[in-house]
Structures are given as structure tokens and as C-alpha cells.
């Protein structure tokens, strides 16, 4: 398995000055990250030009500037903040992760547009790591999960709502407004103006014909959308993007800022303490959370799906049989129906009507199929360790039935 070349480009995150001229600004990369197949729409020359337009601020701020004039707390303030130190200890962060970086993870892009001081780059890295680890875990643990359920599970594990809840559970307080005088232990972001609808931001895909929802298939989601199956923003002209960033009028919601913070923490751990520490952090804080995956299914036609599944897997077609019943002519009849494929009982369900009992039985049978989980599964990221045993391919099923 090919290893990710994260360390190479993450060096630019650690030392912001060392941005090679030939490489595109990371902002543009971020804008295009989720559009996997698109080539870069901007040429290098354009990028260079854009680079010039960015407000150039020296990476080391002169100390004479008043704290109130800064958009985010100065780097030196991180050492003074008891809140930051307590947060560092509360999250059991490795000691190699300095307080200054932890302070940087708490500064959102909307608070400080300077990429040298905000958490945007760290959050991008952290997002990639989180989604990679989560998807590996989900696919290897439940190899037969339908794609839509994988999207939902991804959302449940590393979605913005979960990350915002985690920020809250970590005891991170949100600053009212960003600024140099703010304690670096507070999460700083520019809030949305009152009356703004946070969901109003246009979610447009690149493909005009896919804007209508009825055209969007699961395959299209896999190809074009982000890890949660949500459509991503269309690629905007980078010049416009830069202009919008320079103006920086729009704020972000607290949920989005909190999610960025958690991602940035993962990214910072990865950069400073290495891959094992990041993995451990992921297992302890993300995978340890409780999620009942069988609750994520929403079947519309379970009996039909089961029939298709049996046909695909060349089982005998499923047959529903009443196992027991009571009070068929009463007001509260109960039927217990089993679904049989040949002699094998696939599932069983009870309902107040024969149809309901049959669909419950089908759901039970489908969940039993989809939620198959092999024993002692080995995740692909274990290959990243030195001296790992040779990789044996894990079983990943076809996924959902296509009706």
C-alpha cells in the first residue's frame, strides 16, 4: 500500500515562509481538495499573481503593536495562558505539541485571515486524517455496509455536529469576538451577523445538470461530493475567493468553527507528535464514542431489497412464513413472520399485520447481512508502522443492492 506523502507538504504548514513559488497557495488547494477528478483550473502564473495580492504580513509580529490591534492573540500569550495549558493536559496531548500550536488551532480563519496564524492549514490536514481513519475503520469493520450508511456513519463520527459537540465536551469556551486581548484558550472566530441564515450558503456542484436532486445517484455522490455525501461548493474563480477572504466580512457558525478546531488539533498532533500519536488520539477521542450503526438504516422497500439481494447472492428467493400468530380477528392481532430462503431462516419479525411483520422480518434479514463484521480485522493504516507484517487484503463486499 502506498504511503501518504503528508510529511512533505505539511512542512509548509509548519514553516509558513517556506512556500515554494512553484507550488500553489494552499488556499487554492483547499478549495479544490474535494473535487477529486478536476484538474486545477488556475495556471501557475495566475496563482503567482494571486499570491502577490495577498496582504503580506511578516511572520514575526513586532512586539510594539498593541494587543488590541491584533486580530488574534500574539504567539507569546500562549505561554501565559493557564486555560491553554489546562486544555493541553485535559486532552492528554503529547508534550511535543507546544502550547503555541495549540493556541493556533483555536484561531479560526474568519478571525485571522493570515494563514500563518490561523488553523486553516492544520484543519485541512486534520480533516483528511480523520476521514481517512474513519473510513478505513468503517469499511474494514463492516465490509458490507451500503454507501449511504457509510456516509451517515462518517457524518456521525467526524461530522461537524459531532466535532462541535466534542469541542463542548472538551471544555473549550467560545470567545465572543476575536482579538489580540482575548485569552488564547478561547476558540476565536468571527460570528455570523445576526439574522444570517447559516444554511443559505449556496451549495452548488460543478455540474449544472446535477443540481436537481433527482439526478444525483450514489455513484455521483461518491465521485463528486464530500465524505458525508454532501455536495461541495463549486470551484470558484480563485481571484474572487481571495477577494472574499480579504474582505472577510462573513463569519462562520459556531459549529463550523468548533469543527475546524478539532480537525486542527488532530492535524497539529500529527505534525508535532507523529502518526502513532495521531492514531492514538483518534482512537481515544473519536472511535471510543458510541454509535449504533444498525440505527442508521432507513429502508423503504425491505422485502424487495431482500429479494434482490438473494438474487444477487444466488440464494433461493426469500419466502415469508407465519411462525405464530394471535388474535387475527381481534383488535390487536400479532403476527410473527420469518423470512426463509430455502431452509435457512434469514430473519424474523413481529407486527400487527402480516405485511408489517414481513417487512420487519426483511429488515432484520437485511441488517443481518449488511452488518456482518469479520473478527480481528486489520486496518490498512497499520501498514504505516515500521516493521509491519505483510498486508493481507481484507474482505470488502459489493455493498448495497442496486434496484
Amino acid at each position: 500500500m502506498k504511503r501518504l506523502q503528508l510529511q512533505r507538504w505539511s512542512s509548509s504548514v509548519l514553516s509558513p515562509q517556506a512556500r515554494a513559488g512553484s507550488r500553489l497557495p494552499r488556499r487554492i488547494q483547499h478549495g479544490l481538495r474535494y473535487q477529486s477528478t478536476n484538474p486545477f483550473p488556475v495556471t501557475d502564473a495566475e496563482a503567482e499573481q494571486l499570491f502577490e495580492e495577498e496582504p503580506s504580513r511578516s511572520s514575526i509580529r513586532p512586539s510594539q503593536i498593541s494587543k488590541h490591534a491584533l486580530p488574534s492573540p500574539p504567539v507569546e500569550a500562549a505561554r501565559e495562558s493557564a486555560k491553554l495549558a489546562a486544555l493541553h493536559a485535559r486532552l492528554y496531548l503529547p508534550s511535543r505539541l507546544p502550547l503555541e500550536t495549540l493556541g493556533r488551532t483555536l484561531v479560526d480563519e474568519s478571525a485571522d485571515p493570515n494563514a500563518n496564524f490561523n488553523n486553516e492549514s492544520l484543519a485541512t490536514l486534520g480533516h483528511d486524517l480523520l476521514t481517512q481513519y474513519t473510513s478505513e475503520y468503517l469499511i474494514c469493520t463492516y465490509p458490507r455496509l451500503p454507501m449511504t450508511v457509510i456516509f451517515a456513519a462518517m457524518y456521525a463520527y467526524v461530522g461537524p455536529k459531532t466535532l462541535a459537540a466534542m469541542t463542548n465536551e472538551w471544555g473549550v469556551e467560545l470567545a465572543a469576538a476575536p482579538g489580540g486581548e482575548v485569552d488564547p484558550g478561547h476558540l476565536q472566530f468571527r460570528r455570523l451577523a445576526p439574522g444570517t441564515n447559516p444554511n443559505e450558503t449556496p451549495m452548488r456542484t460543478d455540474r449544472r445538470w446535477e443540481e436537481q436532486t433527482w439526478r444525483r445517484s450514489v455513484t455521483s455522490k461518491v465521485v463528486n461530493d464530500n465524505v458525508f455525501g454532501d455536495p461541495v461548493r463549486a470551484s470558484v474563480n480563485p481571484k474572487l475567493l481571495a477577494k472574499a477572504a480579504a474582505k472577510n466580512t462573513a463569519g462562520v457558525s459556531a459549529e463550523e468553527a468548533s469543527a475546524q478546531f478539532v480537525r486542527a488539533v488532530v492535524g497539529a498532533i500529527y505534525l508535532h507528535a507523529g502518526r502513532p500519536a495521531a492514531k492514538r488520539f483518534f482512537e481515544q477521542h473519536f472511535l471510543s464514542r458510541h454509535l449504533n450503526i444498525s440505527d442508521l438504516f432507513n429502508f423503504s422497500e425491505p422485502a424487495r431489497d431482500l429479494a434482490r439481494l438473494c438474487a444477487r447472492e444466488s440464494f433461493e428467493p426469500p419466502v415469508a412464513k407465519v411462525l405464530s400468530e394471535t388474535g387475527r380477528l381481534s383488535r390487536h392481532p400479532v403476527f410473527v413472520v420469518g423470512i426463509f430462503s430455502g431452509k435457512d431462516k434469514l430473519g424474523e419479525g413481529a407486527g400487527s399485520s402480516l405485511l408489517e411483520a414481513r417487512s420487519r422480518a426483511s429488515v432484520a434479514a437485511l441488517k443481518a447481512w449488511y452488518l456482518y463484521s469479520p473478527m480481528n480485522v486489520r486496518l490498512p493504516n497499520s501498514m504505516e508502522e515500521d516493521g509491519a507484517a505483510p498486508w493481507k487484503p481484507v474482505h470488502v463486499d459489493l455493498g448495497e443492492v442496486i434496484v
Binding site: A86, A89, R90, A152, Y155, R289, N298
Partner: protein, 137 residues
Amino acid sequence: MPVQGIRTVTAARNGVGAFILQCKQLDFHYCDWAGSSRGMVAFLKHQLPAFAKANPQIEIRVSPRPHKHPVIKGHYINGREKAICVRNLEPEQIFNKANLLKEASGEKLKRTKKPITSLNESVRGIWSPYHGGFKSV
């Protein structure tokens, strides 16, 4: 579409992976002049550094509160606060009070009738009259 995913949020299980101490901040207030703060001042002078070192995950803020009794105030992750007045207490008693605040969850005190709660389903399942070895209905 055959099956849809339902979006939910994972539930935290504090202590299953990492354990986050629920007390996030302790405020120690004292008065320089008043005699009721004598034990508090001694505690701050001699015992607090060790307490802070033993609990690095708690932010400790020491600030005077003139003409008032000494108070320890705990801030919790669930947003609640607990304050204990430690007037005229000895340093050891104050240490115990600080420990009490540190170990508290921040919830209101309530009687625990069922000491174990779980997010997982019961292994045995819910009893059903239609299943099991019944002879006749």
C-alpha cells in the same frame, strides 16, 4: 434508492477512550486582611502548587476578593458552577473541599438508584410472549 442513511451524532462515553475531567476551572478567592482567610492563605502558599501539579487539566485562578469570605469556585464542562465557602477552615479542610470540587461532575446532586447505565442494548433482549419454548397459545 434501496436504503438511506440516517444522520446522527455519536454519543460521548467519557472514560471509555480518554477521560475528560469534568472540572475545568477552579477559582480560589481570598482576602488579604480578613481572619477568615487565614487557612486559605496558608493553603495557597503551601499546598496549592502541589495540588496544581497533581491536576494539570484544571485551570486554577487565584484572585483576591477583599472584604469577603474565602471561596473556592469550580467551573464544570456542563456549564454549571459550584462554590464552597471555606471561611475559618484549616488548610487540610480546604484541600478536601478542593478535592471535592475537582471530583464533582458538575451535575446537581441526586440520588443514584441504578448505579450502572449503558447505551448498549440489553444482551438478553426484551421478553416476548411469542418466542421461546411455549407449548401452546
